[in-house]
Amino acid sequence: MGSLFRSEEMALCQLFLQSESAYTCVSELGELGLVQFRDLNPDVNAFQRKFVNEVRRCDEMERKLRYLEREIRKDGIPVLDTGENPEAPMPREMIDLEATFEKLENELKEVNSNAEALKRNYLELTELKHILKKTQAFFDEREGSLEAGGQTSLTQNLLPEDSKGPIQLGFVAGVILRERIPAFERMLWRACRGNVFLRQAIIEDPLEDPVTGEQVYKSVFIIFFQGDQLKMRVKKICEGFRATMYPCPEAPADRREMAMGVKTRLDDLNTVLSQTQDHRHRVLVSAARNIRAWMMKVWKIKSIYYTLNMFNLDVIQNGLIAECWIPVANLEDVQLALRRGTEKSGSLPAILNRLNTVEAPPTFHRTNKFTKAFQALIDSYGVATYREINPAPYTIITFPFLFAVMFGDLGHGIIMALFGAWMVWREKPLSAKKTDNEIWNIFFGGRYIILLMGLFSMYTGFIYNDVFSKALNIFGSAWHVRSYNESTIMSNKELTLNPGDVQQYDQYPYPFGLDPMWQISSNKINYYNSYKMKISIIFGIIHMLFGVILSVWNYKFFNKQISIYCEFIPQILFLSCLFVYLVLLVFHKWVWYGAGGDVSVSPSCAPSILITFINMVLMKGYENRPDDDCSPYMYAGQFGFQRFLVVVAVICVPWMLFAKPFLIHRNNKRKQMMVQANGGEGVVEEGGETSTVPHEEHDMSEIMIHQGIHTIEYVLGSVSHTASYLRLWALSLAHAQLSEVLWSMVLSIGLTSGSDGGGGGVVMYFIFAAWASLTIAILVLMEGLSAFLHTLRLHWVEFQSKFYSGSGYAFVPFAFETILDQAENAIVET
């Protein structure tokens, strides 16, 4: 089985496929998803390849399907996702599929165009109906006078009584978009110099635009004018404003008759329209049932032909030649898949041939849903070089742990762990729900990381004894204030508890984590800083040391014995002599110095480790004053031992710098001597020799520069990286302080406000909601993000720089699964 420690062994294989069976074989390999094909014709552009025609046909089918899907979505018909995964159809089925889609598309297009024509007709008729109704009102305004006036023409009634003569008024009626009315009116007034009379009425119901399908509001208008010239002008203006004009008979009887006609035609149209809609719906519903499967089939066919395009043609044997990377562990599976493929098409078997190559194979880590996210963290820095040690398995533990050192709070840890646990618990339904919400996808992809980070934060929260900045007193504090009387308390602002006094300190520490007494002490921060700073340096040195030790496995595996002696050993000596010694000093101080013992080991005598370390590097000694009981040294012979360590560390630097280039140079020389000794008589050798010497020189200078950079990076790096781990302390301090500030500035208001009435409870209710949302937003989300990024940096830079080169490229197998996923995501996004 594959392990996560190193990437899988890969083999470059050549594949001979019969042209009849190539399609089915590739289809089987796509279902398997363990083969990465290489493009054998990189110089040939996409249009000159063999199966360009088929790819194009697939594109066409895809376009038709997408059109169908859009129509289905427009009608709000649910698309059935049965989750079935149809196999790639045989090439001959492609014609059937094409015919089906063609038929469907044509049918749909016809139905759509019919519906559009019908709708336009419908719109015209409705508009006409409204005109007849509304204009009736205009005419009716003068109806009364018509009754009195007798047989005069309708239009004449509009004119004032005194100017009634032989003049006939003409009129135009129509419908116009409501927002155009003001401009239309002004235009008419200006163009006709006020000689027309415009009346308008609003159509209350919105009308549907047949082309865009939008709801638009329109108005009916009627324009009265006199004379032909004005008529021309009015008509031109109407056309210019896209108003639709309808013939409107003058006589009321004609109008009534027309209205009746319009009404019956509208009714007929309605039935036809609903029938067309029904038909369209039926077509779409039947299409919706199959569209997912069709889509998948088309994507599969397309990807198969796309892959076939990468193959070479073998003209003599009428076959195709492919080259591909296959994990060695899966060669059998691939053979089986090929056999299935050839059986399906019933032709000669395909031949799989392993090739020898000097080319670097792709890196393939077999991950599961748990390790995937951690591998992704590593891969986003750089994909591992082929068969190099993969930091991911260690990251699974160190990542959440270092995160938790910075995020240590039981309360916040519980919130984060619950969120992670919920995502893990509801994994299946949540992953079935595809969204393009990027933030959610990031959270969901990292659900196991979030869960682990939450659990580890709960653990460090216990150690720091910190729940939303309050401490838990589970086992009973070891500190007591038994011996104070009233006058002591009243006369002192601050009182110091003496750890040496049995009355005040139990002489054994709180069983787990920090003592809860620290939470209410005034020197809490001083204590926390000293403690957290030391543990961050200890964790950092252990982390880096581990990274350096891992590099041995790389050197061993890649057979670089020389690097073990010239790089690994001086590196580890350098780190141990300076920084591991520093860690040992920390432990020594913790164990050796304390209250209640001799004066020389009392807390006041404990030397500062930082000063000790600086003096060690400067090789500065102390004077031992006879009158002082405190010794500046922590143990006997410290000065000499420290001097020895510094000398060893300094020697390591030239060792790292020169040893390896020197050994390589000597080896090269020896080889050259051998060549000269063997071929000294040959004339041909001379030419070869002159050309190799400058080449070697160039090589040597390159090796020297490379080694120099490497050494400087390591030596300076161990100093700066050690300091860099102090971010563990800094962030953890910041987190604890922020949560304390939030408590005292927000939640405390709710606690202290309110007198005896029930008002305090109501205030508390609202203040708690504010505090809870600020806790989530600032302390869990923002601080969590920042701690996450710092952890990522500690892994990428401080840890991985010790052994990881990350210069490989990822294995991207040809798999239907990933292709379908990508295609579906593309659809969701549009």
Partner: protein, 93 residues
């Protein structure tokens, strides 16, 4: 009857579950005079001069805050019932 949408009702449900748990626990801790909360008490300035009055004021403050936490927890229980019902309504429709 629908009052609020699915997101708001879910948010209120989670908030009130948290509120009930934390406020009930805090009420309990105040009731048993937990010294961790000593900085959150409100003790009037004039009570600082005499030990007896100071202790009395402290005691009063502890019980008052414990009561307030209890009231707030009860209010969150009401919120939980309402928002839980809304979540149910939203799920059904």
């Amino acid at each position: 009857m629908k009052i609020c949408g699915p997101k708001l009702s879910l948010c209120c449900t989670l908030l009130s579950v948290w509120g009930i748990v934390q406020l009930a626990l805090m009420g309990l801790f105040f009731a048993i005079r937990s010294p961790a909360f000593i900085e959150d008490l409100s003790i009037p300035e004039e009570a600082h001069h005499d030990a007896r009055t100071f202790l009395d004021a402290m005691d009063d403050s502890y019980s008052l805050i414990a009561k307030n936490c209890g009231i707030a927890a009860a209010l969150y229980a009401v919120t939980l019932v309402i928002s839980g019902w809304q979540v149910w309504v939203n799920n059904k429709s």
